[in-house]
Amino acid sequence: MSDTKSVMIVGVGGQGSLLASRLLGNVLLAQGFDVKVSEVHGMSQRGGSVVTYVKYGEKVYSPVIEKGEADVIISFEQLEAARWVSYLKKGGHLIVSTQKLDPMPVIIGAAKYPENIVEKLKDLEVDVIAVDALSLAEEAGSSKASNVVLMGVLSTKMSFDDGLWQDALKQCVPAKFLELNKKAFELGKNV
């Protein structure tokens, strides 16, 4: 439907996209939207390419996002940004972590990891925001927090009250990691 907004979170299984999507879903629900978040479980999670769809608006029907439909894509990895950019609308925002993870065909020499992905993405008709999320996550205290760094970046593209994000963090993150994740979120926000 035309008033529905779509955000895709893409990455490699194990990078924490489920937490990111739940964070965003909770913020959107608190904001009063109808929300659908579609996740991938099972086999694809084992180091494969994973994608999560978040859709919101007055009324959301299909939980999936298709080519040319996403308003924002958050990619945890460069190659995944290249893989999924076709799902972005013209002029949509592409937030991409500059981290690179070789997929198995590249590791065994059956395929090549494309060079200068970020530059090539910038040639497309989309708004590319490249972030060294891994370094910022390490600065916050754990390389595993790059998902929350990227959600901090996303928050600057959405006009929701910061308090909603803070509440969602409290809901979704175990208490002992809350401070670390709050810091990661701030670092992302200030990119």
């Binding site: 080519k67 950019v85 020499g109 990891y113 992905i117």
Partner: protein, 578 residues
């Protein structure tokens, strides 16, 4: 209160609110979270059974015992539980009995794309199909009421997109249901021919009543817009149709997919020039329409039988609209799922691959051993088939085959249905070798306990099956335990056991590297001065190892220091965590 919930989580909420007392299931994507979430409610007794047949029989027992009961499974799990299903259809229930079956159109995590509605039709059991999380909760509650009202088990059909999508759900309190009285009633519960004949008559009468109910039930919703086109749909397909077609068509959304109504469909179709039946997988609703004499429906000739539907498929097929999108200018390499860094299965598969052994495979994470660079699997059919199929393979191919083949099966899959195959190997004697990949957990579905782990679903200590004793008890004299992190030891054991002229079992024992209690060593590093770039370490397909500037490097975020790659390096270049 409204909460964002997975379809499966909302399903569990429905179980809780409906006063369900017992849950028994076997994990299987995309159904697993229903049972995991149920276990979080103290009012519900929840367990992992060794397989779906046991789970369903446990739930049937609880229902006969007077409680509201549930069992959940994926589509192929219902094949395992088909035996009790087709007869509990005759006995009916005492306390309400609800069964979840989760289909996986698109095969995100499955070995086939079966449409489980066929089981509902064939077993003559009522089936409901929700289309979002709210309906999951609502339909489960209704399913229990219908089960008790019509004396029937009720299946609730899930699909991947409904099970694994979150949407908001209105929460209510639990309605506690007192245990119903149990009275001995062999005519109803002892299904021997004399009694079963009478119950079959009851089943046919019940089906008539259920059809009458479905004609007017609010689970089937008619949505008339000022249009010439009608759409009949159910489940997730309804969401895709609404997304694409909005108010430009009228809808009949079927919440009851078995038995299907007759007059409701006829009356709906009469109103329109053309009616599209939008359903994933098989054309069950469409065929039913044609059987009852409706001639203006179209479906499978447009949408086909394969994979998931989506809003863009509907837009393309019905509106001739394709979406515009941009694309990356170069070829993007695939990123298939792989065995995790530190996966204990890796060493076994490397040894099998290196020795060119024929591998009869099974269902679980280790199916990933089938892909490059390990390429160490010849067959994967269904839960437990590795062992029984190897026996058949070796029976026809003889001694030479016995010395070059193995079966591989996980601990949970072995308990599910591997044990019977092993009994057969011992009883009907082939000199087959079975490797039990014991990673002390049910891995692929996200770490569920099983009878070999020593813990139950709630995480409390439980009786633990000793695999060695079990294998010996069924008549396997040679049972050997190896540590798959010790590559040469593992390889030697495999070579020895396949050469021996008697059946044998190797238990490859090492817990899943993702388990929280597993302590990892520090990550390994490659000494760039010693590395010759020979790429021997790449042969194990570890996602933590890659090549930079013609030499190996190890990603420290991923590496868990398992050391398998160290054994492969002939130049002593890998180390640094001693």
């Amino acid at each position: 209160m409204k909460k964002l919930m997975l379809g499966n989580e909302a399903f569990a909420r429905g179980l809780f609110e409906a006063g369900c007392k017992l849950v028994s299931s076997y994990p299987g994507t995309p159904s697993t979270e229903i049972t995991e979430e149920s276990a979080k409610y103290n009012e519900i007794y929840a367990e992992w059974a060794p397989n779906e047949k046991v789970a369903m029989e446990v739930a049937i027992g609880a229902s006969i015992g007077g409680a509201r009961a549930f069992c959940g499974m994926k589509h192929v799990g219902l094949n395992v539980a088909a035996d009790p299903l087709y007869t509990v259809a005759y006995t009916g229930v005492n306390g309400g009995l609800v069964i979840a079956v989760a289909d996986d159109p698109g095969m995100h995590s499955s070995q086939n794309e079966q449409d489980s509605r066929h089981h509902a039709i064939a077993s003559k059991v009522m089936m409901l199909e929700p289309s979002d999380s709210q309906e999951c909760r609502d339909f489960v509650k209704t399913a229990f009421d219908l089960s008790e009202e019509f004396d029937t088990p009720v299946i609730v059909r899930m699909s991947t997109r409904v099970a694994h999508s979150q949407s908001s759900v209105e929460l209510f309190d639990r309605e506690e249901k007192a245990l119903k009285e149990y009275t001995k009633n062999p005519q109803k519960y002892v299904m021997m021919p004399a009694f079963a004949k009478a119950r079959h008559v009851f089943v046919e009468e019940r089906t008539k009543k259920l059809i009458a109910y479905s004609e007017t039930s609010s689970l089937n919703k008619v949505e008339i817009n000022d249009t010439k086109i009608g759409v009949i749909t159910s489940g997730i397909s309804y969401q895709y149709a609404k997304d694409t077609l909005g108010d430009t068509v009228s809808y009949l959304k079927l919440g009851i997919v078995n038995p299907l109504p007759v007059d409701l469909l006829k009356d709906f179709c009469k109103k329109f020039d053309t009616v599209y039946v939008i359903e994933e997988l098989d054309g069950i609703i469409e065929e039913h329409c044609k059987v009852i004499g409706i001639n203006n429906v179209k479906g499978k000739e447009i949408f086909g039988y394969i994979g998931e539907l989506s809003q863009s498929i509907i837009a393309e097929k019905l509106l001739n609209k394709t979406s515009e999108f941009t694309a990356f200018s170069e070829n993007v390499p695939m990123r298939p799922p792989v065995l995790c860094a530190g996966c204990p299965h890796r060493g076994v598969f490397y040894a099998l691959s290196k020795n060119k052994i024929t591998v009869s495979g099974d269902i679980g994470c280790y199916t990933l051993g089938a892909v490059a660079p390990l390429n160490a699997m010849d067959t994967t059919i269904c839960m437990g088939a590795s062992i029984s199929a190897l026996h058949g393979f070796n029976k026809v191919r003889g001694t030479e085959s016995e010395k070059t083949s193995v079966a591989v099966i996980g601990d949970s899959t072995f308990m599910h249905s591997g044990i019977t195959g092993l009994v057969n190997i011992a009883y009907n004697s082939t000199n087959s070798t079975v490797i039990i990949l014991d990673n002390s957990i049910t891995g692929m579905t996200g770490h569920q306990q099983n009878p070999t782990t020593g813990y139950n679903l709630k995480g409390d200590p439980a009786s633990k099956v000793c695999l060695e004793d079990l294998c010996k008890a069924v008549g396997i004299k040679r049972v050997k335990v190896v540590d798959p992190y010790k590559l040469s030891e593992t390889e030697a054991a495999i070579k020895e056991e396949i050469a021996i002229n008697e059946p044998s079992v190797i238990i490859s024992r090492r817990p899943c590297a993702l388990l929280k209690y597993v302590k990892h060593k520090a990550p390994l590093s490659v000494d760039q001065n010693k590395c010759t770039g020979c790429k021997a370490c790449l042969k194990i397909g570890c996602p933590a190892i890659s090549i930079k500037d013609k030499k190996s490097v190890i990603n420290h975020t991923q590496c868990v220091g398992c050391g398998i790659c160290q054994e492969l390096c002939r130049f002593d270049a890998i180390g640094g965590n001693e």
